[in-house]
């Protein structure tokens, strides 16, 4: 890791080139392996864009239609590629438009490096044109941020930014660069990647005592249960995780962001956790004797009422972030570390087992859920279409190979519940923040992150209208993103809550939409609206067969509810099937 430099008198001085701060920035991005940037120019970032003009061959810049679209695209890119998403925005409004995406990336641990332009250093604090205190505004929603006022700081700041964004528990980093620093020339000595920051310890030293204690608990367990989250994906530990699950024979359920860490059809994958998760995983959380949480953070949407959550169980918690251990659920054995390292150690110590009877319990609950909910959702006999049948038919065509990008609301829960994922990094959604308007721009980024895979965005009629300007980005970049709008003519999830908990007082959830197909066609994107079940398979095939992007609007039942459901304030074992 450490590079040693030998300096002797005979050695000529290290070659330096005089470059501007902007050029140094772009060189740094190239050195970090950046290929794609999502951005939007403006006054305070103009010198960087001027430099970018000469880097068109080396750096692909995608012009978005709004900075929020830019950052969500960066998130989609990071989520499918596993690389750091890079976003450019100007000062003031450009930077403030990034906030939602930063908050989303922060809570969903998505690695991003955002570069914002800033007014000249001598104007800082003077209420200059398009000046906003970006560093302070973004502090609560970034893993790290830094303001550069001198070009000579740029190489080191960028090196630290990438190192921090992707190491440990990943997250968004913002570098604010004043205009004078972008213009300023300095002697650039070449780029050195950051490998160590003394105050920052992304990875702990694994403590074997805890691995041994965890293995002992697991080996004694009669009814062990695994909960896995995005940590498995972020740590690229899918193989290690699968090996652990298969050797221990323990049923495993996923959080929304953990979907795809093992294939949907894996016999030990017992389904989704949480408010709209599967019946068995929720009920049996309160029956298991050892709960093994891997790379997940016990979000309140997963746990329901905390004081009635898995109180009977001993908890083994594997996480890279020590602040997550004991934050919501007390652990019996904390296994603090990168699960890519800790899982193989644990696998080596656990007994090879099959928990046949215990697994059968999950299957029995699945049978009940199929009967009460799933069958009606996937193979409805009603006249109107359900969201679930659209997902099911999509599965039949994509065979679980597609990247599914979802927005937020009913369609998101339905898609997460029913979409098939054979591969990791296939489910891109806004989990922690629940950002409506996420899907369309994230799908654009997801496609750039994995150009060879089919990317299907599934969006509600409400969320689509929050960021539909990004159709312009699709048009201009010419990429191939399939868009399915599940239109129930309502802000469906809020309507569902109003129906169940507010006596059907439908307060401002009745949303009108434009003609989405005409809107898409204004951007040169073909589309189709279907109202009848008989048209569904053909329309999906047409969509997938289309060479470029395609928008398919499916009119679904207006007042359908997503079940099962753990009502707010209830325990996971009080999950309702209707």
């Amino acid at each position: 890791m450490e590079t040693t430099q030998e300096i002797t008198i005979d050695t000529p001085k290290k070659e330096t080139v005089e470059v501007s701060g902007s050029v140094a920035l772009l060189e740094a991005l190239i050195a970090e392996g950046v290929e794609t940037i999502f951005g939007y120019p403006g006054g305070a970032i103009m010198p960087i864009y001027d430099a970018l003009y000469d880097y068109k061959e080396k750096l692909e810049h995608i012009l978005v239609r709004h900075e929020q679209g830019g950052i969500h695209a960066g998130q989609g890119y990071a989520r499918t590629s596993g690389k750091v998403g890079v976003v450019f925005a100007t000062s003031g409004p450009g930077a403030t438009n990034l906030i939602t995406g930063l908050a989303d990336a922060q809570i969903d641990s998505t690695p991003l490096v955002c570069i914002t332009g800033q007014v000249f250093a001598h104007l800082l604090g003077t209420d200059a044109f398009q000046e906003t205190d970006v560093i302070n505004i973004t502090t609560p929603v970034t893993k790290w941020n830094y303001q550069v006022t001198d070009a000579r700081e740029i190489p080191e700041a960028i090196a630290k930014a990438f190192y921090i964004a992707k190491s440990g528990r990943p997250g968004p980093v913002l570098i604010d660069i004043t205009k004078n620093a972008q213009i300023q020339k300095f002697d650039f000595e070449g780029y050195v990647k950051c490998k160590h920051i003394r105050s920052y310890k992304p990875k702990p030293v694994v403590r074997h005592q805890y691995i041994e204690q965890a293995a002992e608990l697991i080996n004694q367990a009669k009814k062990p249960f695994i909960l896995f989250g995005q940590g498995v994906l972020l740590g690229s530990a899918e193989q290690e995780f699968k090996a652990f699950v298969e050797k221990s024979g323990i049923p495993a359920a996923w959080t929304v962001l953990g979907a795809g860490a093992i294939p949907t059809d894996h016999p030990l994958n017992v389904g989704m956790l949480g408010m709209h998760g599967n019946y068995g995983p929720n009920v049996l959380t309160n029956e298991c004797d050892v709960l093994i949480a891997i790379g997940m953070r016990f979000d309140d949407r997963v746990t329901g009422r905390l004081d009635k959550y898995a109180k009977q169980a001993q908890v083994v918690h594997l996480d890279i972030d020590p602040a997550e251990i004991d934050k919501n659920v007390k652990s019996t054995v904390p296994v603090w570390g990168d699960c890519k390292e800790t899982l193989p150690l644990l696998t080596a110590l656990v007994d090879e087992k099959q928990h046949t009877e215990w697994l059968a319990k999950f299957n029995e609950y699945t049978r009940q859920e199929v009967e009460a909910v799933i069958e009606k959702e996937l193979n409805p006999t009603t006249e109107e279409m359900t969201m679930g049948e659209v997902i099911k038919q999509l599965n039949d065509l994509t065979l679980g190979e597609a990247v599914i990008v979802t927005d937020v609301g009913q369609h998101q829960m339905v898609a997460c519940r029913y979409a098939k994922f054979n591969k990791t990094r296939s489910n891109v959604t806004s989990g922690g923040l629940g950002t409506m308007g996420f899907a369309l721009p994230a799908a654009i980024g997801a496609k750039f992150g994995t150009p060879d895979r089919e990317v299907v965005a599934i969006i509600g009629d409400g969320g689509f209208q929050m960021t539909c300007q990004e159709l312009g980005t699709i048009m201009q970049s010419g990429i191939n993103v399939k868009i399915i709008i599940l239109n129930n003519r309502f802000l469906g999830m809020v309507r569902q809550w109003q129906e169940l908990f507010n006596e059907k007082r439908y307060s401002f959830v009745d949303i009108q939409s434009p003609n989405f197909v005409t809107l898409a066609s204004a951007y040169g994107i073909p589309g189709k609206t279907i109202n009848n079940r008989t048209d569904l398979p053909g329309a999906l095939k047409e969509m997938l067969a289309n060479k470029g992007s395609f928008l398919l609007e499916v009119m679904v039942t207006k007042e359908n509810n997503v079940f099962p459901m753990v009502p707010q304030g209830c325990s996971v074992s009080e999950i309702r099937l209707k």
Binding site: M1, E2, I135, N136, T139, P140, K143, W144, N145, Y146, Q147, I164, K195, H196, I197, R198, S199, Y200, K201, P204, V205, R207, Q209, Y210, D321, P322, A323, D326, K327, K330, T332, P334, W336
Partner: protein, 201 residues
């Protein structure tokens, strides 16, 4: 599992950090986000070159304090966080009192009271005199109450500074931090060793 102390009490949080613009805000918002009032905050260079030390006092339950400390230690430019009850630290606050010189000259009792309370004259002018004391909150408060009847003109008290009784300082630890591959020492785990005594991750 050990018994949690659920009652609120004063905790002294010691934070070792890099000297970085904006870090004070990054630390402060961890408290404000949970709507925790900071009773006292002191930040100044530590005994180690380029390392700053924060002393923060809050009144909270241990569980909340522990979670907050972990969230502080998670910040990139924070090296280490410890928390202690008042019993685990030696702490002091400094106070300055401005009183009219005439009053002191006239009333012998004032001089006696100041001496009894360990006050020391810092500045003596014709019009006013400034005294200084150092001590616990009750002690500096007591002198305020004593001087009020004699026309206390102005009073100010510093933030609390606290030395951890059971600490070896930070010099040795910093050398560990500077290594590319830190030893287990830096990566202490509170569940090991003296976990119950000193918070440390």
């Amino acid at each position: 599992m050990t018994e949690q102390i659920t009652e609120k009490q004063e905790y002294n949080i010691t934070v070792y950090t890099e000297n970085q613009i904006g870090l004070l805000n990054r630390i402060a918002i961890i408290f404000t986000r949970r709507k925790i009032n900071i009773d006292s905050l002191n930040t100044s260079p530590s005994e180690v070159d380029s390392i700053h030390r924060f002393n923060i006092v809050i009144t909270e339950t241990e569980e909340v304090v522990r979670k907050v400390c972990r969230q502080i230690e998670k910040q990139v430019e924070v090296l280490k966080v410890y928390y202690h009850t008042n019993a685990d630290v030696i702490w002091q606050e400094m106070a300055l009192y401005k009183v009219s010189t005439d009053v002191i000259a006239e009333k012998v009792s004032v001089e006696r009271l100041l001496r009894e309370n360990g006050a020391r004259a810092v500045v003596i002018r014709k019009d006013y005199t400034i005294f200084e004391t150092t001590g616990h909150r009750e002690e500096t408060d007591a002198l305020v109450a004593i001087l009020q009847p004699y026309g206390l003109i102005e009073f100010v008290r510093s933030a609390r500074i606290a030395i951890i009784k059971d600490s070896d300082g930070f010099n040795r630890k910093l050398r560990e931090f500077e290594r590319l591959e830190p030893g287990e020492d830096v990566m202490e785990n509170e569940y090991l060793g003296q976990g119950q005594k000193v918070f440390s991750m």
